[in-house]
């Protein structure tokens, strides 16, 4: 049990980085608090797994210090870090039974036999593995094998942190939900620091107390699921989180108004004039962009998507393609319509970073 501090951690594979491009992980400061569940979310190749492997010691960072509480562990080997990690694909020991697989991390740490047996029984019960405990692990299904991998990650109760590297990728969708809620339950019961890597936003948002959104080797935003949805600090967070992602339109911002291709929008705050030569965009989530037949900015409707639970209109505002929600009461939709943006949820981005305005 510990808090983990990243002090300027950065990594470049293959030695000395010459430019910023060479970093798989750009310098990062962050404190992972004891007892919290974090998700590392981002597209493939954004540095999530590198960061995770640095924490577990499988990768030694080229720069920075890694602290477990106050202890510098940057160069300690994995074995001495007291970390558990679960990988994307099942790793099982073919020669052993399920019970022996689960007991393996404890046996290597020379726990007393009775304690090992107690832990193995507990974990097996939690993951529904009790009935196969004495079977050889090699003959089981991929689902069961991944459960064994998860079990080996959770079996040590004294770890500083449990790291998950997209552990549910190979699992059946139905079982996925079940296992995710089990992990969540384990997290609550054990009060452990858990870090969960995923590229699936639903997985991240349902599992974690805090989500770290990564892109191109950088942590672009760290916040609660609510923060990420309501106040994306970076345009990347805006369109990566949410489905579909945030509407982003190049705009000219004048105080509390924005001009998008000649159309005028109201903003929820008064913004200072942005410096010259920088890209200004406004962003509104489709959830706060509503199609209307009365007031609003005129748009051309390109197509309508009925998702069952909600309906979306793909429209063009001037030359900008955006997505709007169709209110349930609206029935006939022609080629022309209007959209209303929620001013309080309309954000201004200068060079992809959100700027805050003053109260009007």
């Amino acid at each position: 049990m510990a808090q983990i501090t990243l002090d300027g951690i950065a990594h470049a594979y293959g030695g000395k980085p010459r430019s910023e491009q060479d970093y798989a992980l750009k310098p990062l400061h962050h404190v992972w608090e004891q007892g919290m569940a974090y998700a590392l979310l981002g597209p493939s190749g954004c540095g999530k797994t590198t960061l995770l492997n640095i924490i577990s010691g499988l990768v030694i960072p080229s720069e920075g210090r890694l602290l477990f509480d106050d202890k510098d562990v940057t160069h300690l080997p994995t074995k001495e870090r007291n970390i558990a990690q679960v990988f994307q694909f099942p790793v099982i020991y073919d020669t052993m039974t399920v019970a022996e697989n689960l007991a393996f991390p404890l046996k290597n740490r020379k726990l007393p036999r009775a304690a090992i047996e107690r832990r193995v029984t507990e974990i097996a019960a939690m993951l529904d593995l009790t009935s196969v405990l004495n079977r050889r692990a090699r003959g089981l299904t991929a689902d069961a094998k991944q459960k064994i991998s998860l079990g080996r990650g959770l079996v040590r109760s004294d770890v500083s942190a449990v790291l998950f590297d997209e552990p549910l990728t190979v699992i059946d969708p139905a079982l996925k939900w079940e296992l995710r809620s089990k992990l969540k339950a384990v997290h609550r019961a054990l009060d452990l620091l858990m870090i969960y890597v995923t590229h699936d936003q639903i997985e991240a948002l349902t599992f974690a107390d805090r989500v770290v959104v990564m892109n191109d080797g950088k942590a672009v935003q760290i916040g609660t699921p609510d923060d990420l949805f309501e106040r994306p600090e970076h345009t990347f967070v805006g369109y990566f989180i949410g489905s579909p992602g945030m509407n982003l339109m190049p705009a000219k911002v004048l105080g509390s108004r924005a001009l998008v291709d000649g159309a005028e929008l109201q903003l929820g705050a008064v913004y200072p004039e942005p410096p010259k030569g920088q890209r200004v965009q406004i962003g509104v989530r489709p959830e706060y962009t509503e199609l209307s037949s009365m007031a609003g900015v005129p748009v051309q409707v390109r197509r309508v998507a009925d998702l069952g639970r909600k309906r979306l209109a793909y429209v063009t505002l001037g030359g900008q393609p955006i997505v709007a929600t169709i209110p349930p009461e609206m029935s006939s939709i022609g080629d022309q319509a209007k959209v209303v943006f929620d001013p309080a949820r309309t954000h201004v981005y200068v060079d992809d970073i959100r700027v805050t305005g003053a109260a009007p």
Partner: protein
């Protein structure tokens, strides 16, 4: 039937293969079968002899039976000794070869070099190498005061043949094991580190089980080759001293071509062949069993 006409002309396409198999295997084997059930006084006069050659051969109290038994035992012992040395040695060396970097290619080429040398050249190289008067190895051992003489001392002869085989063919085990090791995903090693496994535990619980399949193939190939060994003892020791290194194949050639005892040689060939076939079948069964257990 589905009503489609069956075109038997497709069989024509198989004819070339049949012809090839006929000349490469069936006719030669049938010639041997022919010898093994007949007796000849030369000049192409053959007399029906039934299974007499076989009964002689498999009865250790006859001269030929005792000789066959000895040669068979010697050959099996040789195979066993070679396997016991080559398999662990090959795995051990494969474990030492780096997984990445420019050294990989270099190491593999150097390791594979002995396999590229033709058999009789290998024999000749070693024959000179081990000579007590001018050979580097032989002269060095003699210089150290060790009793080493390939042509007079059975232990020297045996050791030499085993060393030649180990030098010549351990590379095969190394290459196969290395390929097997490379096929193990990194995640297994990472998980083992996380689980705090020792080097031995990693070897016995990850590497060895994952190597099982290639090792069966390696052992099969090595068994076959050592069981049929001919050139090295033929060139280096000539089967001696006495009959110390007279393995089955050497004995067979002596009987067939030295004594022109075609009946005995025919029967011996067939029994030799059947033993080889049986061992192959056993290995094949093991391999398919492993396959069926899946995900090795």
């Amino acid at each position: 039937m589905n009503g489609k006409p069956i075109n038997n002309r497709a069989w024509l396409f198989v004819l070339p293969v049949l012809a090839f198999v006929l000349f490469s295997s069936i006719i030669p084997v049938m010639t041997v079968v022919n010898y093994s059930i007949q007796d000849t006084m030369g000049v192409n006069n053959f007399f029906w002899n039934g299974d007499a050659w076989f009964r002689d051969l498999l009865n250790p109290s006859t001269a030929i039976g005792a000789r066959f038994n000895d040669a068979l035992f010697r050959t099996l012992a040789f195979s066993l000794v070679c396997l016991v040395i080559e398999a662990p040695l090959g795995i051990a060396i494969a474990l030492c070869i780096p997984r990445t970097g420019w050294l990989v290619g270099l190491t593999l080429v150097v390791v594979a070099l002995p396999m590229l040398i033709p058999w009789n050249v290998v024999g000749t190289i070693w024959q000179i190498f081990t000579r007590a008067d001018i050979g580097l190895f032989g002269a060095a051992l003699t210089g150290l005061g060790l009793h080493y003489n390939v042509t007079q001392d059975p232990i020297s002869a045996w050791t030499t043949i085993v060393v030649i085989d180990v030098w010549h063919w351990t590379p095969l085990v190394i290459l196969l094991s290395y390929a097997g090791l490379r096929a193990i995903p990194d995640a297994f090693y990472q998980a083992a580190q996380i689980d705090g496994a020792s080097r031995w535990a990693i070897f016995f619980n990850i590497e060895l089980p994952k190597l099982q399949k290639v090792l069966v193939i390696a052992v099969l190939l090595r068994f076959m080759q050592t069981f049929m060994i001919y050139t090295e003892p033929f060139v280096v020791t000539g089967g001696g001293p006495g009959s110390a290194t007279t393995f089955l194949s050497i004995d067979l050639v002596k009987i067939a071509l030295g004594q022109v005892d075609l009946g005995n040689a025919g029967a011996m060939s067939l029994v030799y062949y059947l033993i080889t076939l049986t061992v192959c079948w056993i290995f094949f069964t093991i391999m398919t069993q492993l396959e069926r257990r899946g995900d090795v």
